[in-house]
């Protein structure tokens, strides 16, 4: 039996939770439901009549050459960016962490790309990579690579975008790893030294790396999501070209939804993208979680 007091408490508790719950409903769950509903209709922006087409869009998606190509491009991009983003960020953080006086300088230098708005940087990249005016092309010619056009050669464009993606994300990951490094207690290193871990690789493998487990997990998952959502470099630098070699999932989704106005089809695509992200995050969390030590 609940006493009147307990009942009052429960009601008060509900009242306190209600605003937050209402917000979750309005901002997260309702849009998701709308998305799922749209994805089974043939809705076009501005249309007066809407028909339910069931799972037709999903069936069409996997036979759509453009979608399959974008899926392939996105996975390639993630496969390229992810290792670089995690290990690059870690490497930079380790190097900087050991600095004392110049640390501030390096932190700012590596973090600058994160703060730079990419749309504004696009002009700079376009010029840097210009096949006849750009310094990068001139450098490659000087090094004996001949005429290399990093943005307009279909076999190189995606890799170029991946490098730019890395340039952007490494600084961010570095900050996360630096925070992780600072949180490792010094006495662990002393204890390890007493136990015979004298060389740097030893200390790294026995203390630093295991203690960075939670950070690494977080960085891996956020970097995966960031890489999956690659969009602005595509829009401003290649618009998906040349020959569709840089069409990524999010860009194709944008084209379908906001350029072709096929809202229903774009919604189905979004559901697939969401499913991929959720699956990948769960998978990574499961795998990594088993190996992570929480201090």
């Amino acid at each position: 039996m609940t006493s009147p007091r307990q009942g009052a408490e429960a009601r008060a508790g509900l009242a306190f939770a209600l605003p937050a719950f209402a917000l979750i409903l309005a901002l997260l769950l309702a849009p998701l439901a709308a998305l799922l509903a749209l994805s089974v209709t043939d809705y076009r922006l501005g249309a007066l009549a809407v028909q339910v087409v069931g799972l037709d869009h999903y069936a069409a998606l996997f036979s759509d050459e453009v979608f399959r190509r974008s899926l392939r491009n996105t996975f390639l991009y993630v496969a390229f960016v992810l290792p670089g983003a995690v290990f690059g960020g870690l490497g930079v953080a380790l190097l900087i962490h050991a600095r004392s006086r110049s640390r501030g300088f390096y932190e700012v230098a590596y973090f600058l790309p994160v703060t730079a708005t990419l749309v504004a940087m696009a002009t700079v990249w376009q010029f840097m990579l210009h096949p006849s005016l750009g310094p990068v092309s001139a450098l490659l010619r000087w090094l004996g690579f001949g005429e290399v056009d990093l943005l307009n050669d279909p076999s190189l464009a995606l890799g170029t975008l991946a490098l730019i993606g890395l340039w952007q994300v490494i600084g961010f990951n570095m900050v996360l790893f630096l925070a992780g490094l600072s949180a490792i207690p010094r006495d662990l290193y002393e204890a390890a030294a007493l136990d015979g871990a004298r060389t740097a690789p030893d200390r790294f493998l026995r203390v630093t790396w295991p203690m960075l487990g939670p950070t690494t997990m977080f960085v891996t998952i956020t970097s995966t999501i960031t890489a999956f959502k690659v969009f602005d470099t595509v829009v401003v630098l290649t618009r998906g070209g040349p020959l569709g070699s840089t069409e990524t999932l999010l860009y194709v989704l944008y084209l379908e939804g906001f350029q072709y106005f096929r809202t229903g089809y774009a919604a189905a695509m979004t559901v697939v993208l969401l499913a991929f992200l959720v699956l990948l995050s769960i998978l990574q969390a499961r795998v990594i979680d088993r190996k992570v030590h929480y201090a």
């Binding site: 708005t117 010029f127 307009n152 618009r239 040349p242």
Partner: protein, 426 residues
């Protein structure tokens, strides 16, 4: 971060505040246009209009980043009853917009309003060609405001080095290609000619190549592609020849403009609306010149007209009447002379070239004349319907493959016609 979207672009184009509100203003018109940089002529035109019509206030909405996003904003506004009172959709989006808004009763047919002004007024101010740009399915939904057709921009120094005469730009495509080849031979670092349909942000330049040879993208009924003919074959063969014979490299559209501006390209083709921008990019590096677009078929050939038309989407009578006054003013000689001076667009009003408006200015700015000289060759920018942007992407990809030499021109054209037809059907 990667996720940070370029919506900031729209925000960055902060629009100059509309003229100060007037106490006597009885009607406020909500106006939407695309391209934030256009504020530099929309604002002075609105000020001039308000001086002449103190009872109307013009309030600009945040300009859309481009025609496609404006189109999207208008469709959204149609659903939520938040349409502006006057909008300036791009010519290639007007049919689609009119066909969506007309059944909903959200766009005004301007035909009766023009009829009220009288046949003499209509004939004095507008060429039939210009009025036709605003017609959809036989109804006058828009009044042409900005109009342009592609022109040649060239570097006279490179043309001279290639043995050409800067005062006599070639009028045939064979001569243009040959000139490009000679420029490339004389200056191996440079591109002779660049005709960047591989990266241009619409199918406008590709349509120009077909239309100048007397071809059309669509049949008379407008329901099937018609460029699989001799004119289409000539156009796609020419596209490949720019690469093989004129030293063109397949680079981005901005990259092309940058390279031209630094003296690295002999000839490019672009919109006269970019005259001010390209002149600014070139700075004083070389004495930039322009020429009219070479037209092979003098009888049937022409150039597609880019730009935008004013449409009225207001619902109540008082706003509609005020909106018509604003639209009339915008298409009038005073407003046209403001817009033309600041861009390089063609005037859409017959009176605008008169001495008191643009006459002297054209004499002082010969580069602006190239577009005006081909005004009688204006053809509509043909519209494939709802799947237009998708068709453009598909065509651009095939054009790139042909220009790279991956696909033979004939086969590329055949596929392009087949896929265009398929996408038009559904």
């Amino acid at each position: 971060m990667l996720t940070r979207r370029s919506t900031l672009l729209a925000g960055a184009g902060v629009l100059a505040a509309p003229a100060a509100p007037r106490a006597q203003a009885a009607v406020t018109l909500d106006v939407l246009f695309a391209n934030p940089s256009f504020a530099r002529f929309f604002t002075p035109i609105a000020e001039a209009f308000q001086r002449a019509n103190p009872d109307v206030r013009i309030a600009f909405r945040q300009p859309a980043p481009n025609y496609d996003e404006q189109h999207q904003a208008l469709l959204r506004g149609a659903l939520t009853n938040q349409l502006p009172d006057v909008a300036f959709p791009g010519f290639n989006r007007l049919p689609e917009l009119a066909r969506t808004l007309a059944p909903r009763g959200q766009i005004l047919d301007l035909g009766p309003l023009i009829a009220e002004e009288g046949a003499a007024w209509k004939a004095e101010n507008f060429a039939d060609r210009m009025l036709a740009l605003g017609q959809v399915d036989g109804r006058q939904y828009g009044m042409a405001f900005n109009a342009s057709s592609p022109i040649a921009y060239y570097n006279p120094e490179l043309v001279t080095r290639g043995g050409g005469d800067p005062d006599a730009f070639p009028t045939s495509w064979d001569a243009v290609v040959a000139l490009g080849g000679r420029i490339k031979a004389a200056a191996p670092q440079a591109m002779g000619v660049s005709y960047y349909i591989n990266s241009f942000d619409s199918d406008w330049l590709w349509q120009a190549l077909v239309q100048q040879g007397g071809g059309r993208m669509l049949n008379a009924a407008g329901d099937a592609p018609a460029f699989g003919d001799a004119a289409g074959r000539a156009a796609i063969t020419l596209a490949r020849r720019f690469v093989t014979d004129s030293g063109m490299q397949l680079i981005g559209d901005d990259q092309n403009r940058q390279q031209f501006a630094t003296g690295g390209t002999g000839v490019i083709f672009d919109s006269p609306a970019r005259l001010n921008v390209i002149t600014g990019l070139v700075g004083g590096r070389f004495p930039l010149r322009t020429a009219s677009f070479p037209i092979t078929d003098q009888a049937r050939g022409g150039v597609p007209t880019g730009g935008n038309a004013a449409v009225i989407t207001a619902r109540d009578a008082a706003k509609r009447a005020a909106a018509w006054r604003y639209v009339k003013f915008s298409a009038g000689p005073e407003a046209q002379s403001i817009a033309v001076r600041m861009t390089g667009y063609l005037p859409t009003n017959r009176h605008a070239t008169a001495e008191q408006f643009l006459g002297a200015w054209y004499r002082d700015n010969p580069n602006a004349q190239s577009a005006a000289r081909q005004a009688d060759k204006s053809l509509p920018w043909e519209d494939y319907g709802a799947n237009g942007p998708r068709i453009h992407r598909m065509q651009q990809e095939l054009l790139t493959a042909v220009m790279r030499g991956d696909t033979p021109p004939e086969a590329g054209l055949e596929r392009m016609v087949a896929q265009t037809g398929a996408l038009m059907r559904g």
